[in-house]
Amino acid sequence: MATVKVNQLAKDDLFWQIDYKHDRCTLCGKCVASCPFQAIEAKVEKRRKVVSEDITPNPKVYFQTIPVIKQVISEYNFCRGCGICEKVCPNDAIKPVRNSDHRFQAKYRATVADPFKRGGRSNLETDGRTLDKIKVGRISQMTDPSLDAQRHTFDMRAPFGRVLAPNEIPLEVDSCGKLVLKNNLPPVRWIYPIIIGDMSIGALSWRMWEALAIATAYLNEEVGIPIRMCSGEGGVPVRLLKSRFLKYIILQIASGHFGWNRIVNAMPHMVEDPAGVLIKIGQGAKPGDGGLLMAKKVAKHIQEIRGVPKADLLSPPNHQGLYSIEESVQKMFLSFNAAFKFRVPVAIKVAASATSVSVYNNLLRDPYNIVGGFFLDGIDGGTGAAHEISLDHTGHPIVSKLRDCYKAALHQGKQGQIPLWAAGGMGKNWNLAADAFKMICLGANGIFTGKLMLQLAGCVGNDMGKCNACNTGLCPVGICTQNPTLVKRLDIDKVAENIVNYFIAVDHELKKLMAPVGNSSLPVGRSDALISTDKSVAERLDINYAC
């Protein structure tokens, strides 16, 4: 008989409780066969009844032993609520139920003496998203003609690269009286205002990563949406580097500097320049912390591309050897501009922070014309693995920070020169177009998005603690794992198709928002188009309050 003691972990401590209907279960085994967390198991239960059926007391014992499915109570094999059991059960006999009385993280810390880690996003949403409190409130009615989203042509491109002010363009008149460029212009790529962003080949399964790359190429070549994908920090497969599709890929360099040996060595074989280079300083999901790839996900090909053995891979929280903004510009911007002979734009990504405006102000000076973009990542960004304390308790919301940066540029009259790209929870309410449009109106040139892509691919997690097991290497749908048995669950074509379809829809929806404000190009900074029903949001963002 198993004993139960006060300090033993119990079912009511767990995030999720398995609701099992014994009378509906045929013990087909599908739930237990498909749960990668081993959070449920087959067991036997006793049934015992002592009854009297005579007219005088006469004990009769009924004794049965019944095979059942039971929840595993463990600090390690605990139910994540992914719901695969529910999906595969033919009889609606089993499902995870959220336990609002759980105290799992406290128990976990008290038992294991280790910070609780997980993947996903901030799960501490308390008062709703700022972007959802903003509406597109300026509709062209009698004032000026609105456009027709379906039938008008729109120029939906955003700059990635250093845009010079008109008076800075190095023009001169040549001997024939023609205007000619004295020097090369800094490279600028005019791309779709949404970048698929920053998820590494270690964090994602190879199928997931490749599906993203395929979707990106497809959107460019078959649909005509000039979207770009950022590689994330973790290297890029050489076959991609040598292919023509490299032109759709933004290469990332982060503090771990993973994968750059192969990138550099592939340079002589590149048939196209990459779309850009993104220097990652920090990320919104866990600012102040570096990348974290648990050993369980460091598969052979990851080891090879990254040039490291199997181990927990912790990227340093900062770039070793960078101590100031000036140094960053000198070392990182200059070197990566030079690496591609000043033909490829180089931008930088930081976690949104109280200090972002100072950084941006500093970069805006950019006397060398080598700062090709400022990427700001807010608190609602997702991640494959992080300490929960970082996920839930560090970071800065993106909306006001983006707005502050835009206004800082405006103040200097330099808006648009170093493009602003914003992220962190984009598409969290499932509508990327709405978020993109609002951010653009607030001053972003574009946005970048990651987690939504995974959710389109089949991720079952959400921001209320469902699944969030990206760090375990046991992703039940094969997205955040390198384990072949699990990766094979993912349909690479279907994933790419879902993402392509989503962006076709987003493209329509963006136009649906651009048309009524009457913009046929991106309404960067057109905050007059926005209103907020929340007075403090309106005040903070300097947009109209409406009620």
């Binding site: 087959a42 497969p237 790419a496």
Partner: protein
């Protein structure tokens, strides 16, 4: 009789307003006038929606109209514009015939739903947009001699438009740019270059019916706009095309290439990870078979030790013994235990504290399986007849538990074995020391005889000293020094000469010498031997026995209970200061009165037959982990001679030494005979067993323990897995050697683990494919 009026748009050099002009038209209509000639000055909305009271047709002849001439014009109204007209000619035309002899402006025929519009020149942007066809009315027609501006025919839903492209041969597109966007119905006949049409339409050749329509109506059109001479230029069928909207079905799917096709034909060949890993891109389901299972089962019978086996120093696997009983192989079961111990009835059944029962899984249900009683069942089993089949000879010094166990095992293996016993009787401490009360002499003698019956040769009253040992060393191939521990330890305290040695005392009793004791006896040392001394003291007539110890008594609970039942008192911690004629004086000054003080704090072996080099500085024999002398590999030392222990320890040692001697002779590396790990308790499913109360258990036949034994880690062949497996993947295979096994077919198995989850004995084990791949 038509009446006609003129309306001037300019009066007295001043333009009159649209409203004034229209009011005059209404008044004229009220007067029954049905032909109105307007010499306008940009007044709007001339021509509709108007009708005569008597239903007579209305005719307007207009010069210089403003916008929307003929807008909302109705059937029966004819409007002739003599010259050009600005935007919105025939907007929402509801049936009028509108003839513009010059050019039309933007959005000509916009939303025209019926009626005919004839334009003798070109029209502006968005002309023909949103034309419709209401089936209750005649189809609208819109004729243009030259060309249209851009965005023409946007959202056209019905009707016929004809753009003749007269004099437009040089134009890139007679329909302008982005024409026909959103067009869903109607037909446009067009002559001349067309460019940048929307994706919503098809550009097609004319059918005969189409040409018949044009051929018939082109002269009519030209007649209306008074350009009959143009016919020659525009009446060649081959110059004409028609534009129709795609059907709902045709436009429903925008056909993109399938991603799969893109990946296979356009994407990097073999995938971008193709040089790093193999992937055939097959998609697995959540529930899979073979290698794609997350886990797979293995039937690992006897992979774990049952707690009884694990805890038994003699290694007796009671779960296997009971399994044989369960199969009704009673003889085999009772004989099987003899493969491990020659003394199942004496030791297991009587003197052993039965460590096997301490952790019996059955404890989690009710009471442990009665293994002690099982031992007794083997008392009468006859010895196997053994022939000497091997050349090597072994001498065993000492006939205690370890010596006889060793001799017996070696004999079973076919060796010539001789036992040399110093005492006059065989059996060592079993015979010499254990009180009869605890060990039935008849059973012991039967079991010793069984050893002898195998052909073990025993010599009693042989003292093996150095000289004798050297002789034996020459004569025998291996020597087992099972000499036990027969030198009692004496406390080095004042008055120690008064102490009676416990071992000597017990030996004297068993020899029938009836050693004398006083009324009050103190036994120093409350271990198991001490408890035997207590029993002996009472037997010899003591009235009060006190056993003292410096620590918590090491004797088993059962022994202590027995002693207490006889009236003994057990005190601890007690530190002896001295022994006097009054009794034992403790360090704290307490006197425990005693007439006799017996010391029983342990015994040491006597190795006087060994040369000094065999021993360490404390006099202990130097051996390796196989109980083999490190000086002379022929010599093995089991049992109490190494470490004081239980009889079962001695039996286990004796057996292990025998097996290692056999290995030595065969040239096989010696073994420590480590046991399989003890089965985790939760692998054995106590849920299958119905708890019984102690009384009911005690009334059961010992043989019926088969019903209580949970067969830990040893398949009880219940077929539960076979029945419960949802995929029916498990089958039971009978093997040629009479054994059986259960197999799971990986082609059927989904790795659910139900077999492991329900297996009553914990045989099925789930192996982790995920873990396997992570580590690879």
């Amino acid at each position: 009789m038509s009446k006609k009026i003129y309306i001037e748009g300019i009066r007295n050099g001043k333009r009159i307003s649209t409203q004034t002009l229209l009011q005059e038209i209404y008044q004229a209509l009220d007067k029954g006038i049905n032909e109105i000639v307007v010499d306008g000055c940009g007044q709007h909305d001339i021509g509709g929606p108007l009708w005569s009271k008597d239903g007579k047709p209305l005719k307007f002849v207009v010069k210089n109209p403003g916008q929307r001439v003929g807008s909302m014009g109705m059937q029966g109204t004819t409007i002739i514009v003599d010259g050009p007209a600005p935007a919105d000619v025939g907007w929402l035309n509801a049936g009028a015939e509108i003839i513009v002899k010059g050019d039309g402006g933007d959005t000509t025929a916009h939303c025209a739903a019926t009626g005919k519009i004839f334009i003798g020149g070109r029209v502006g942007t968005r002309s023909g947009a949103m034309m419709k066809y209401d089936p209750k009315f005649p189809r609208p027609e819109f004729w243009v001699l030259k060309n249209t501006g851009s965005f023409s025919f946007e959202f056209m839903g019905g009707g016929i438009a004809v753009v003749c492209g007269y004099d437009c041969e040089e134009m890139e597109s007679v329909l302008g740019y982005r024409s026909c966007v959103g067009m869903v119905g109607g037909t446009i006949y067009v002559r001349g270059n067309v460019k940048d049409l929307s994706d919503d339409v098809w550009l097609m050749d004319l059918t005969d019916d189409d040409w018949e329509f044009l051929d018939k109506n082109l002269p009519v059109f030209l007649e209306k706009i008074e350009r009959p001479g143009a016919l020659g230029k525009i009446s060649k069928r081959k110059d004409w095309k028609k534009i129709v909207a795609k059907t709902y079905e045709e436009r429903a799917h925008k056909s993109f290439m399938a991603i799969n096709e893109f990946r296979k034909n356009k994407w990097v060949e073999g995938g971008i990870f193709g040089d790093l890993l193999y992937d055939n891109y097959e998609v697995a389901e959540f529930v899979e078979r073979k290698d794609l299972r997350l886990r797979y089962p293995e039937w690992l019978n006897a992979n774990y030790s049952a707690p009884c086996e694990y805890n038994c120093p003699t290694y007796i696997p009671t779960q296997k013994r009971i399994s044989l009983l369960r199969q009704n192989k009673v003889k085999e079961a009772l004989e099987m235990v003899l493969d491990y111990s020659p003394f199942p009835a004496s030791v297991c059944g009587q003197v052993c504290p039965n460590l096997c029962m301490d952790e019996c899984t059955r404890l989690y249900v009710d009471l442990p399986v009665r293994i002690k009683e099982l031992g007794l069942l083997s008392a009468e089993i006859k010895a196997k007849k053994c022939e000497t089949t091997k050349d090597e000879k072994v001498a065993v010094i000492g006939s205690g538990a370890s010596g006889l166990a060793c001799a017996y095992q070696l004999r079973l293996m076919g060796y010539h074995v001789e036992v040399f016993e110093k005492d006059s009787v065989l059996g060592g401490k079993l015979m010499q020391v254990i009180p009869e009360e605890r060990l039935d002499r008849k059973i012991l003698e039967t079991e010793i005889q069984r050893v002898l019956d195998t052909g073990v040769i025993a010599h009693t009253n042989v003292n093996v000293d150095k000289k004798k040992l050297k002789e034996l060393d020459k004569e025998f191939d291996a020597i087992v020094l099972a000499v036990g521990a027969h030198n009692p330890i004496v406390l080095p305290v004042e008055g120690s000469e008064r102490l009676v040695k416990g071992l000597d005392f017990l030996k004297a009793i068993n020899k029938g010498e009836k050693p004398k004791v006083g009324k009050n006896v103190v036994v120093i040392g409350a271990g198991n031997a001490g408890m035997d001394v207590v029993i002996g003291a009472y037997e010899m007539g003591a009235e009060k026995v006190v056993a003292i110890d410096i620590q918590k008594p090491a004797a088993f609970e059962k022994e202590i209970e027995h002693a207490k039942k006889l009236g003994a008192e057990i005190l601890w911690p007690c530190f002896t200061e001295k022994i006097t004629d009054k009794g034992v004086v403790l360090k704290d000054g307490t006197l425990i009165p005693a007439d006799t003080v017996i010391v029983s704090i342990g015994d040491r072996p006597d190795f006087s037959m060994l040369e000094r080099e065999y021993l360490d500085e404390k006099g202990r024999v130097l051996i390796n982990e196989y109980l083999q002398s490190t000086v002379n590999p022929k010599i093995f030392v089991p049992g109490d001679a190494i470490k004081l222990g239980l009889f079962t320890h001695a039996l286990g040692d004796g057996r292990k030494v025998a097996l290692n001697i056999d290995r030595m002779f065969k040239g096989i590396t010696l073994s420590k005979f480590e046991k399989a790990p003890k089965i985790p308790q939760d692998k054995v499913k106590n849920e299958y067993y119905h708890p019984m109360n102690a009384q009911a258990v005690s009334k059961m036949q010992t043989e019926d323990e088969t019903k209580r034994c949970m067969s830990c880690g040893f398949c009880r062949d219940c077929h539960f897995c076979e029945e419960v497996c949802p995929e029916q993947a498990i089958s039971r295979i009978e093997k040629s050697d009479g054994n059986f096994e259960y197999l799971s077919d990986s082609n059927k198995c989904i790795g659910c683990g139900i077999c492991a989850g329900v297996c009553p004995c914990g045989i099925w084990v789930m192996r982790d494919n995920i873990e396997k791949y992570i580590e690879s």
